[in-house]
Amino acid sequence: MKLKLIAGLVASMGMLAGVAQAQISGNVVKIGVMNDMSGVYADIGGPGSVLAARMAVEDYLKESKSNLKVEIVSADHQNKPDVGSSIARKWYDSDGVDMIIDVPTSSVGLAIHQVTKEKGKVHINTGSATSDLTGKDCSPNTVHWLYDTWMLAHGTGSAVVKSGGDTWFFLTADYAFGHALERDTSEVVKASGGKILGSVKVPLATQDFSSFLLQAQSSKAKIIGLANAGGDTINSIKQAAEFGIVKGGQKLAGLLVFLPDVHGLGLNTAQGLNVTEAWYWDLNDTSRAWAKRFTEANKGKFPSSDHAGVYAGVLHYLKAIDAAKTDDGSKVVAKMKEMPTDDPLFGKGSIRADGRKIHPVYLFEVKAPSESKGPYDYYKLKQTIPADQAFRPMSEGQCPLVAQK
């Protein structure tokens, strides 16, 4: 009912002759963009991800002169795993969808990951954070493109401990993602010599964090780690300022902060926050040029790293289909892993056997209002973490696909 099938563009460049050579089910490659279209994460993914996917299809067909016919559909999973899996089943079983991309909210991401494996299709996840997607639950049909809890924990976590924040208290979103992020960050903090003083599990989409902030305050921890995302992070940061927590000497560490979150907070409140992201629009000339195109089509809202991930993920997927001459899920993912990745936004990279996409990751600091020169000019680069150090080594992930080798 709430399923919105916005039939995207049908790019039909070649005639049947070209298509017939490759084994494409239904003669069309159907991409499903599934995410939170209307809730707390809608600005991070939402309709912007559909736009990014569409841009990727246009660009690929123009540059490669490929004969593929590509269609895009989209749906709102409302951050509910049951809603997400029933859409995925319908898409795979009766609508001929070949690949599902985006899927923020780790609990939904894990559900789609399972359904995709069962049906032998393709899932490129750019929205979920849980590192379990490429860990013990890894699948031959999933590519985890953008970021994960291990990366966030090591990026922000170790930077904060290094600068003296060695006692932590967590405000944790009470579902798969928050739990994974708290677990991974705790490990980093302990490994770097810090201590965890406590944590509190907060239901998703809580309005008022003051009670939890007060508990964090009385723990006397130097760092309050926010293992949450989207609107929850915004509300916790805003209310921490109100209750004088930062002035009282405690610091906040936002473990997952996206560009739209900083926009929603305003630089006054957000300045000084450490942010770990895999992509930012102001990294180089190509990313700026792409962001300009995107923003013009997105009512002035700049792209998040998730949008960039969807764009790059779709490009690589289409390349792999043309190279493998089939859209069979398992074969395409194998091809995606075999081919090095190369796209305008993330540059050259690769996909590991466990499904993890590897690229450099950046540690940013949010600018003060006086340093910001234009719309969405929010980050300054503090450190670049090279691709081979940014993600969990395969040997530690316990992914069965890797163990078989």
Binding site: D43, S211, Q215, E242, G248
Partner: protein
């Protein structure tokens, strides 16, 4: 000194925060109770009207440069007028029908309003800064009380008690209550009943908008803000007894307190505890704590 393993000072802080959240529940459920008690309409647009209040404050600030205090005065009136238009064009047709029709209409309206704002402003929400006079806070010894939160409690208490007084203790309130019992007879005394009902709806909606303006500096001004809250507020009204003004006020504050305590002892349940209480109350007293069975 400790209570159940929590230092008494921390406990006092948590109770105070519970009261602050309770003020929002009380303000919102008050509006709902007035509308239900006097119009027999289950106003599902209430959450959207609360959101309109917060957005109204944001828009006045960014387009007309009018600050918080102007918004506090103007926004409830403006949103109240929108309420009057809704009542005059749509709601009044439904009074004779089953409650369900009013519920469906107002629910549909809420979805449309929220959808429009999401389309225009995105879902992340917009920043709204606190009025300068209420920046900072007071150290109470057991906790740091932001001045603004203190103001929310006081303002909400004043509004709630005044509303209760007007409806239960004045002549105007008497007319209103009489008009819901028997509109024909009241009309016969020369009182314009339809107009009175229209204004009552406008007033209830204005209360929601007022709560919205008060929420803007502490919560994110986002299209979802009302939808997240309205279900809880409905539970508050049901527990208090549908249509009971005092019931709405007392349960609003009371449930804020209980929710606050849950956040300390078992935070995972803090979003469900109100519904558990609702279930228990409905089993024992189907008309709610302060309601009377008709």
């Amino acid at each position: 000194m400790e209570v159940f393993g929590i230092p008494i000072q921390a406990m006092m802080g948590q109770l105070l925060i519970g009261l602050i959240n309770g003020s929002f529940y009380a303000l919102l459920s008050l509006g709902l109770a007035v509308i239900f008690g006097l119009l027999n309409i289950i106003n599902f647009t209430h959450g959207a009207q609360y959101m309109l209040g917060a957005f109204g404050a944001y828009l006045l600030m960014n387009h007309l440069g009018l600050g918080y205090w102007w918004s506090l005065l103007l926004v409830p009136i403006l949103v109240g007028i929108i309420g009057v238009i809704i009542e005059r064009t749509m709601l009044f047709r439904l009074y004779k029908l089953d409650h369900l029709y009013g519920l469906l209409l107002t629910f549909g309206l809420a979805l449309m309003i929220q959808g429009y704002f999401r389309h225009q402003y995105g879902s992340t929400g917009l920043p709204y800064s606190m009025p300068e006079q209420l920046l900072g806070g007071i150290n109470l010894g057991f906790m740091f009380l932001p001045k603004y939160r203190g103001w929310v409690i006081i303002a909400s208490l004043i509004v709630c008690l005044t509303t209760w007084f007007v409806i239960e203790r004045t002549k105007l309130g008497g007319y209103l209550r009489a008009a819901t019992e028997n509109p024909q007879i009241v009309q016969a005394f020369g009182i314009n009943v339809p107009r009175m009902i229209t204004l009552t709806y406008g007033f209830g909606v204005g209360l929601a908008a007022l709560a919205g303006v008060m929420a803007a500096p502490i919560y994110q001004v986002s299209p979802q803000m009302g939808a997240d809250l309205i279900i809880v507020v409905f539970a508050v009204v049901v527990i208090g007894g549908m249509g009971s003004i005092m019931g709405a006020i007392v349960t609003g504050f009371g449930l804020g307190l209980i929710e606050g305590l849950t956040k300390v002892f078992y935070p995972e349940a803090s979003s469900t505890v109100i519904f558990i209480i609702m279930t228990i109350v409905l089993l024992i007293r189907p008309a709610g704590l302060f309601g009377t069975q008709k």
